[in-house]
Structure formats: C-alpha cells, structure tokens
C-alpha cells in the first residue's frame, strides 16, 4: 500500500468535469477527500489522500496531470513556528489526524509533521498563528497570509 497526500488545483475550465472518481474506477485507487473548496475565481482546490499500488498511484497522478489538474505533494507543508507557539493546545481539538497532540505526562503540545495531511485547519484556529504553510498560502490553499 502506497499513500500520498496531495493538493490538487482544478483550473476553472475543468471544475465541472468528474475527474476524481476516475481514480477509483480506472486506476483502482482509494481516495479520501480532506478538504475541497471552490475559490471565488471558480478555481477548485482539494486536499486529497490517495492510496493503492505504487504503480497505480503514479498512473493516477499522470492521469490527473493530463486532465489539467495541477498536483502538488503536501508532505511537510504545514510547520510550526516554535517561537510563536504558546503551548496552549487549542489546535489539538480540531486536528483530524492527531499530528497535533498532547504528551499527557508533560502536557506539552507536540507537532508530528509525518502525520500531518495538510488540511490547514490548525492555521486559523491557532490563537497566535504559529502554524504556517511553508509555501505561499495564496498559491496553495487560497488562505490570506496573516
């Protein structure tokens, strides 16, 4: 089993086409949509977890690209600014993958980038905006830069 976390950008002209379902039907892949939105300019953005045989995943990625979807790996995209973080733990309540969690012995707030799926929910929930998206947010998820 091979898994990839991806940010997909759908240009305006293809947002009305069924594309993601083909990953399942044609390439025998399993997908999990963590976030999907259509931006005001009608461009679509999706954070997607894709898993299956490595060969099929690569075929699926080729198919996405050939359909006009811009594909980006999200691994390591979210990072924590340790200088800003006040160790409160507000982020741990909304993190869907427990990448942000608390060490129960010390009550320290831990960020494990390996478990992060790049949904970016933590970015605006963090009261001191310590969670950052490494690349330009406008380019990747359409978030405003604080």
């Amino acid at each position: 089993m091979y898994t990839k976390m991806l940010v997909l950008r759908f240009p305006r002209i293809i947002t009305d086409k069924p594309i993601v379902c083909a990953l399942s039907r044609e390439f025998d892949l399993c997908f999990n949509i963590l976030k999907a939105e259509i931006l005001p300019g009608q461009e679509g953005i999706m954070v997607l977890e894709l898993s299956g045989h490595k060969k099929n995943v690569n075929k699926g990625l080729r198919y996405l690209r050939s359909s006009g979807v811009k594909v980006k790996d999200v691994e390591q995209e979210i990072r924590r600014n340790g200088e800003l973080c006040i160790q409160c733990g507000a982020c741990t309540g909304i993190c869907p993958t427990t990448a942000l969690h608390i060490n129960r012995e010390t009550m320290e707030v831990i960020f494990d980038p390996k478990q992060c799926k790049g949904c970016a929910l933590c970015v605006s929930v963090c009261p001191v905006r310590a969670m950052e998206i490494r690349f330009s947010k406008d380019k990747i998820l359409g978030y405003r830069t604080p």
Binding site: G89, A90, C91, G93, R104, E108, S124, V125, P127, R129
Partner: protein, 388 residues
C-alpha cells in the same frame, strides 16, 4: 476563628524569604507533600506555594498617558496602530482594551473572521519595545488648540503605562462542546459538530484561585507575577461570585472568583502578554499570572494540596443552549478526566483540548518560586481580602 496547630504571619514568612530560609514549592509539588505528610506537617514545612496560569484572558487592557505635544491636544478619539483606544479620560490619558479589533478589521463579514490584530497585539508590541503609531483627533479648545496628531510611541518613552485587567484568573470555567450539526466558532475555540471536541480553559491544580478557594490569603495588594513582571491584585474582578455550588473541599463547581490585577507594563515581557486571535470570535490577550500563597496554617496547606482529581467543571453545549442563555449542562467532569485527553459524553469518547497552556503555567509557578527563593520577591499582605 478556628484554632490551628500551625500559625504563621505574612511578616514571619517575609523574614524567612529575606534571610533565604523560606521553603517555597509549586502547587504541583505541594500535592505530594500534603498527601505524604498530612496537612499539619506540610504547613510546618512549607512557607509559600506558587501557582500559575497562562491563557487568553478577556477583560484586560492598559492605561497609557502618551504625553503632551506642542501645541497641546485634548484627544477625543485615539487609535494605536489603528486600534481604537478609549480617550474619554483626560486630555492625553487613554485605555486600550485587549478585545478591541483594528478599526478596518473585516470582523465576521467573511465568516469566520480571523481578527488578526487588536488591542492585545498593541500591548504585546509595546512590551516588545516596538514603535506603535498613535493617531489622535480632537475638537480643539483654547488651552489645547491642536486638532490632530500622529506620532510614534514606544514603551520606554512613556511616562505612564499600567496594565490594568478588570477580570483575570477565573477560578473555574465551563468545558465547551457543540451538539449541533455545524462547526461553531466561540470564545471557547472552534467546536466541531456532534461532540467533535471538548474545550476547557484553566490550568486546574496549578491555577491560583483553585489553591485558595475561599480567598483566605488573596486580596487588595497581594503581590503577584503579572505578564512576566511584578503586579498586584487590585480587588475582586468583575463577575467575581463566591456564592456558587462547591465540592466538599471548597472547589467551586463552576465559574466563581476572579481577580482584577494591575502592574507597570515596563517590567513586563512579550512572552507573557501575547495578543491572540480567536477564529470567528475576536481578538484578546493571553496573560501570564502567578499568585504566591502563604501557608499561614494547616487549612491553607490542605487547600493548596488540591489536585486535578478534586477539581470539577460543567460541560456546556455552546452550539445551541449557551447562545440562547440556557444552562445546557450535559455533565460534570474532573480536570483529571479533561487532561487525560478524552471524556465520556452520551456514551461516546469525546477528545478534549485545552485553551490554557499547562506547560507555561508550570513555568510561571517555577519562575515565581525562583524569585521568592532568591529573596527578590516578598509577599504583599492584603489590605482587604476578596469577598468570600
């Protein structure tokens, strides 16, 4: 007045602090001492217990005198980095409140609003030594003819900048959940639908007022750790309400006592006064507070031995009940349960999340302990205890 086996006074404890002999422990360390040795022996051994809390605390702000310009101005409207300050005090006196957003903030027009900069951020910028742009408008008077000024101010140049927070260090607070089918954005954080998470907001066994539940040692003039510097308890805070249901050992089951605190901003640090943005709710400021509790007798020793297992709070639905002003209490849980990472509600395991930093609270209790042990921080004997 109860008869105690141990009787100490503030003066005796301060003498021991001055001579470097005082025994000072944190509220966490005190739990084991009371359990092991009993309250009387603990009271004989320990002189001071230090507490700590670091959390967003609304009802915070600062009084600032920004100095006269030439020609003079009687400022009627004032902004600091675009954040409105209250100017209806005197010609150049203002109060900047932590929850005031910048005048051009889009607020919740694009929901949920981000509230990236507000009064709390202004205060943090000031204590960080940064320049802050002050703009003032006036209608002009004979003695103060200026109608508009704009200047940069910096904390070190101000003759008076006093943090003055009307309600801090709440003794207890609700644990918030959401029973509806939609995410809600509250002052208790983002709450996912259908009991997705349970947020709580005090440092529990380290929290100042949990360690002195009947305010036997805290009152007007109590010297405290405030924002990384020295501050004082001014009086009971707004919404201070000692008359709430309590457990057998005096722990209030819901919000009860509060503190109004003050201190010179110049001694404080941006590590302990931090502007915060609460998604969909507004801006505020996280404040670090530590209160030293003198162990005057064994009853106080007993109270400072409180642990997370002894502290309870109410789980309240912030999806529907709370906004409508209904009680909406779903359960009572202990802080030990909250801190374990999940609580059982309606047959489900609901993950918990703190909004108050336990790590930083522990750091404050440790820092205050070090200050007292070094002899540089003496206890302030209250002139009047808080209403209990």
């Amino acid at each position: 007045m109860a008869d105690y086996q141990v009787n100490k006074t503030f003066k005796e404890i301060n003498d021991r602090i001055r001579s470097g002999k005082a025994v000072v422990v944190t509220a966490e360390e005190m739990i084991g001492i009371v359990r092991e040795k009993g309250r009387v022996a603990a009271a004989r051994e320990v002189d001071v217990v230090t507490t700590g809390t670091f959390s967003p605390m609304c009802s915070s702000g600062a009084f600032i005198n920004f100095g006269h310009s030439v020609p003079g101005i009687k400022a009627s409207r004032v902004w600091l980095n675009g954040v409105p300050a209250y100017a209806g005090l005197a010609a150049v006196d203002i109060y900047i409140g932590a929850t005031e957003p910048r005048v051009d903030d889009p607020l919740n027009k694009v929901y949920p609003g981000e509230f990236l900069y507000g009064g709390g951020h202004v205060i943090q910028d000031l204590v960080a030594g940064k320049d802050v742009v002050l703009t003032a408008d006036a209608y002009g008077t004979h003695c103060y003819p200026n109608r508009h000024i704009e200047k940069k101010i910096r904390l070190e140049q101000l003759s008076f900048a006093q943090l003055c927070n009307p309600r801090n260090a709440c003794q207890n607070y609700n644990c918030a959940v959401n029973l509806t089918d939609k995410t809600v954005y509250t002052y208790m954080g983002t709450l996912r639908p259908r009991l997705g998470n349970a947020n709580y907001c005090t440092s529990g066994q380290l929290s100042p007022l949990f360690n002195d539940p009947y305010y036997m040692t805290i009152g007007v003039g109590t010297r405290i750790f405030l924002g990384g510097g020295e501050g004082y308890v001014a009086c009971a805070g707004t919404q201070h309400d000692p008359d709430v249901p309590r457990t057998e050992r005096g722990v209030p089951r819901k919000a009860a006592g509060t503190l109004m605190v003050m201190g010179d901003l110049k001694g404080m640090s941006p590590r302990w006064l931090v502007g915060v943005s609460i998604l969909g709710y507004g801006c505020s400021m996280a404040v670090g507070i530590g209160v030293p509790i003198p162990i005057l007798n064994e009853e106080i020793a007993f109270y400072t031995g409180v642990s997370d297992e002894d502290i309870v709070t109410q789980v309240v639905d912030y999806g529907k009940a709370y906004p409508k002003g209904k009680a909406g209490v779903l359960a009572e849980v202990t802080y030990a349960q909250l801190k374990s990472g999940s609580i059982k509600l309606e047959g489900r395991d609901v993950p918990t999340a703190p909004l108050s930093s336990y790590v930083r609270a522990r750091e404050i209790a440790g820092e205050l302990k070090a200050w007292i042990k070094s002899g540089r921080f003496l206890l302030g004997e209250p002139q009047k205890l808080l209403p209990s």
